[in-house]
């Protein structure tokens, strides 16, 4: 069974204070690992797809990296508007197109 564990559950940062969110996964053949952002009461908003260990992707203040067991979402000099829940999801080669999500990390950035 595919499993995704995210840590920490919640993270409070001051504006400008960089940090990283962790996503550990167990999957029978990774097809893709996805990061989404979710604002309260809204649907997940796509951020990144990573396919293989060593891959990195960047978008503004966010950078996602992937190893064979985990992924990190690095947030550099965050702003209050980066406050949201960040979701990690995996898609397994044996599981068709379904995404298995983690519980998410709720990020709060204080001004």
């Amino acid at each position: 069974e595919d499993q995704v564990t995210q840590s920490p559950e919640a993270l409070r940062l001051q504006e400008g204070e960089s940090s990283s969110l962790n996503c550990s996964y167990t999957v029978s053949g990774l097809r893709g690992l996805f990061w989404y952002r979710q604002d309260p009461g809204k649907g997940p908003e796509f951020l990144f797809t990573l396919y293989s260990a060593g891959e990195e992707k960047e978008k503004e203040r966010l950078k996602a990296t992937l190893t064979k067991k985990e992924s990190f979402l690095h947030i550099t000099a965050p702003k209050p508007e980066d406050s949201a829940t960040y979701l990690c999801a995996v898609q397994a080669q044996a599981s068709g197109s379904r995404l298995t999500f983690g519980e998410g990390t709720q990020l709060t950035v204080n001004p």
Binding site: G32, P44, G96, L99
Partner: protein, 116 residues
């Protein structure tokens, strides 16, 4: 920018009633999905739909649930006889043709279903 749209945004229904949740996926996408998120819990896969048939479903998607693409644009989720535990946010998603590499799924804003 193309987006997935869902209606209604909020639906309140009596236990035992049938509900239909509606979605308009992104126009050139071929894969369609329903996920749900119970308050405070993780997003869970329900069903995927491709080429006018269910391609995969989870153990949650039992006989009470059905999906349909009645025309070229809409994608619906029907719950035949709602239970209290069906109360959740339901998300529709769509993705483009998938080859060897996966393509990202784009989600709608959700329908909050409340069963009373």
């Amino acid at each position: 920018e193309p987006e997935v749209t869902q209606t209604p945004s909020h639906q309140v229904t009596q236990m035992g009633q049938e509900v239909i949740l509606r979605c308009v996926p992104i126009s050139n996408h071929l894969y369609f999905y329903w996920y749900r998120q119970i308050l405070g819990q993780k997003v869970e896969f329900l069903v995927s739909f491709y080429n006018n048939e269910i391609s995969e479903k989870s153990e949650i998607f039992d006989d009470q649930f059905s999906v349909e693409r009645p025309d070229g644009s809409n994608f619906t989720l029907k719950i035949r006889s709602t239970k209290l535990e069906d109360s959740a946010m339901y998300f529709c998603a769509s993705s483009a043709e998938q080859g060897f590499l996966s393509t990202e799924a784009f989600f709608g804003q959700g329908t909050r279903l409340t069963v009373v």
